[in-house]
Symmetry: C2
Subunit: 340 residues, 2 copies
């Protein structure tokens, strides 16, 4: 059986191909009864609907938005914060009638998703700003929104007030009386840090520098999960160990707490720990984690709103969502025996 196209249906019914197209795509352009007849004939021939690829070419849009992430996608799924972001983005896109296409970074494979996959717009999420994939996207002139990235000129951006949040975290410790503070983050070299990590580092320093506190910084990669534990251990297993620690993420904070416990330190009596993100882990952990809250679903929704705007020709203003301090039970004044 030959492939069924608009033309075959048109021939069958005895109308022009365009009329059949309208029957599917613009029902108001023809009489209801003819439309019925056409749909019936289409059904009879086993026609499902206009071919998406052909339609994409003719219309100039595909109905799908890309999401560029570098690093393996599984990291993004396993991290609670980025998974929540993906969830929010995909739900919001689907509410607006669009699908989400994940664009893996190309590495050095010949297939470059950022260049070779048809999408109407792209959200750039966790991504090295110098990556080749990003370069392709820019040359393609695809509508683009960066999320958790430095907002460059002319590129719409959705961010969280990472620096402000980090200030709140540091202030909280300083206000409690901590004068010896550790930092558990991704990298020591500021040049290597991704945008949120850099901003958070700046925020901690804003406050600690002003308070005359010189933090001890340890760095750890995301993977493997034990790396953060080891880094925290190296921070805490020394005579001049800090009384308080600010962390890049809740996951790092939990690793720090575990490291502390393994050294026989009690949290928060002997050590205060502040996380970041207020992920699901934070409230559920024992002790519940003092952390900086960011509204990840709102970030996803804002990102979709921004890309929709850009795709419609708009130039949305940069969005910066607020962060707030959530005090739970992992922080206390230094050496506070009354706590718990």
């Amino acid at each position: 059986m030959a492939k069924v196209t608009l033309q075959s249906i048109a021939d069958r019914v005895g109308v022009s191909r365009m009329t059949v197209s309208n029957a599917f795509s613009r029902p108001d352009q023809l009489s209801a009864e003819l439309r019925e007849k056409i749909l019936a004939a289409a059904d009879e021939l086993g026609y499902v609907g206009p071919d998406p690829a052909a339609r994409a070419l003719a219309r100039g849009r595909t109905g799908s938005v890309g999401l560029l992430i570098n690093g393996t996608l599984s990291e993004a799924f396993e991290d609670a914060v980025s998974a929540a972001f993906l969830a929010a983005v995909s739900d919001e896109l689907s509410a607006r009638g669009m699908a989400l296409t994940l664009l893996p970074s190309s590495g050095n494979r010949p297939f470059v998703a950022a260049r070779d996959v048809a999408v109407d717009g792209v959200l750039v999420y966790i991504c090295d700003p110098t990556s080749a994939d990003l370069g392709w996207l820019e040359r393609r002139h695809v509508p683009m929104v960066v999320v958790d990235h430095h907002a460059r000129d002319g590129v719409a951006a959705v961010n969280v007030d990472d620096r402000g949040g980090a200030r709140l975290a540091a202030e909280h410790l300083v206000d409690l009386g901590h004068r010896s503070v550790g930092v558990v983050t991704l990298e020591t070299d500021p040049e290597q840090l991704n945008y949120p990590a850099r901003e958070r580092m700046l925020g901690w320093h804003d406050v600690l520098d002003a308070a005359g506190v010189e933090p001890t910084v340890v760095a750890t990669p995301y993977q493997p999960p034990t790396a953060a534990y080891d880094a925290a251990l190296s921070l805490l297993d020394r005579p001049d160990r800090p009384t308080g620690v600010v962390c890049f993420s809740d996951a790092f904070a939990l690793a720090t707490i575990r490291a502390a416990e393994s050294l026989g330190l009690r949290v928060p009596t002997d050590l205060s720990v502040v996380g970041f993100d207020d992920s699901v882990l934070a409230a559920a952990s024992r002790p519940p984690l003092t952390t900086i809250h960011q509204d990840v679903p709102a970030k996803g929704i804002a990102a979709v709103a921004a890309i929709a705007d850009v795709m419609g020709g708009g130039h949305p203003e940069p969005v910066v969502l607020p962060t707030t301090l959530v005090v739970r039970e992992s922080t206390a004044p230094p050496g506070d025996a009354t706590s718990r």
Copy 2:
């Protein structure tokens, strides 16, 4: 500035459009020096590469595989097992040079991703077998692989030995001496159960029926997270409460353990609990969870292999991955005061 196409480059260089196409897509079809000249001209004109939408139409493939999930995507991301599956699928696809497009269920919106988005094949994951979206996919004759679904005739399938795993779980309790067993699962009506839930129910019954044990079944929806806790509470807060419980998932098992603790019951001394899936939660929980292990990354890889095979015209045999019992510390003989 007019849009740059193969034709504009061809005119510029003075060759045919086809040769320019070959310069990008089949380098072996022309001399290296001409190719250089063409690429240089393309670069100069700001040409990024063949338009993906046009290429998709002409070649008949898009470079993207769809994943059909019904329910909101955020549920899929928040559940540890499905998130791990998505992660494995996306990584494996990207290794094979394909992108992953998430096809949200259409609800009753006019936009039906399963019908209107161009993909080369589709993985059907968590999905009501009677859903309209699935119907569209079938009529489209898109290459398709079902995962965690009943394998119907002619449709490639990747599954886990859910029934066998459930048998192992029930056997474990029976072998420990339990004669009063509870079940915490998704639904009581077998007709309503999704495939893995039905299979697991069958597996539990296989063993319990043979042992003359009549289980007490309670049902709970996935959402909200407290529902499972409440269901477990209703199971345990009664005079004839079971001494052992098998659960549909690790998440349900953890909820059951929390419910038991809130009633002052000790696990496993007063109550044995068996999970399912061996997700990241299982080993990390306190007490560590006895559970049925399934290899989720392997499932993802097998699913991608199967869809690649089907897309290539093959008819892969159904895959059923094994499940194994992992005994940790949430199970013990009934009323065993020596444990822990």
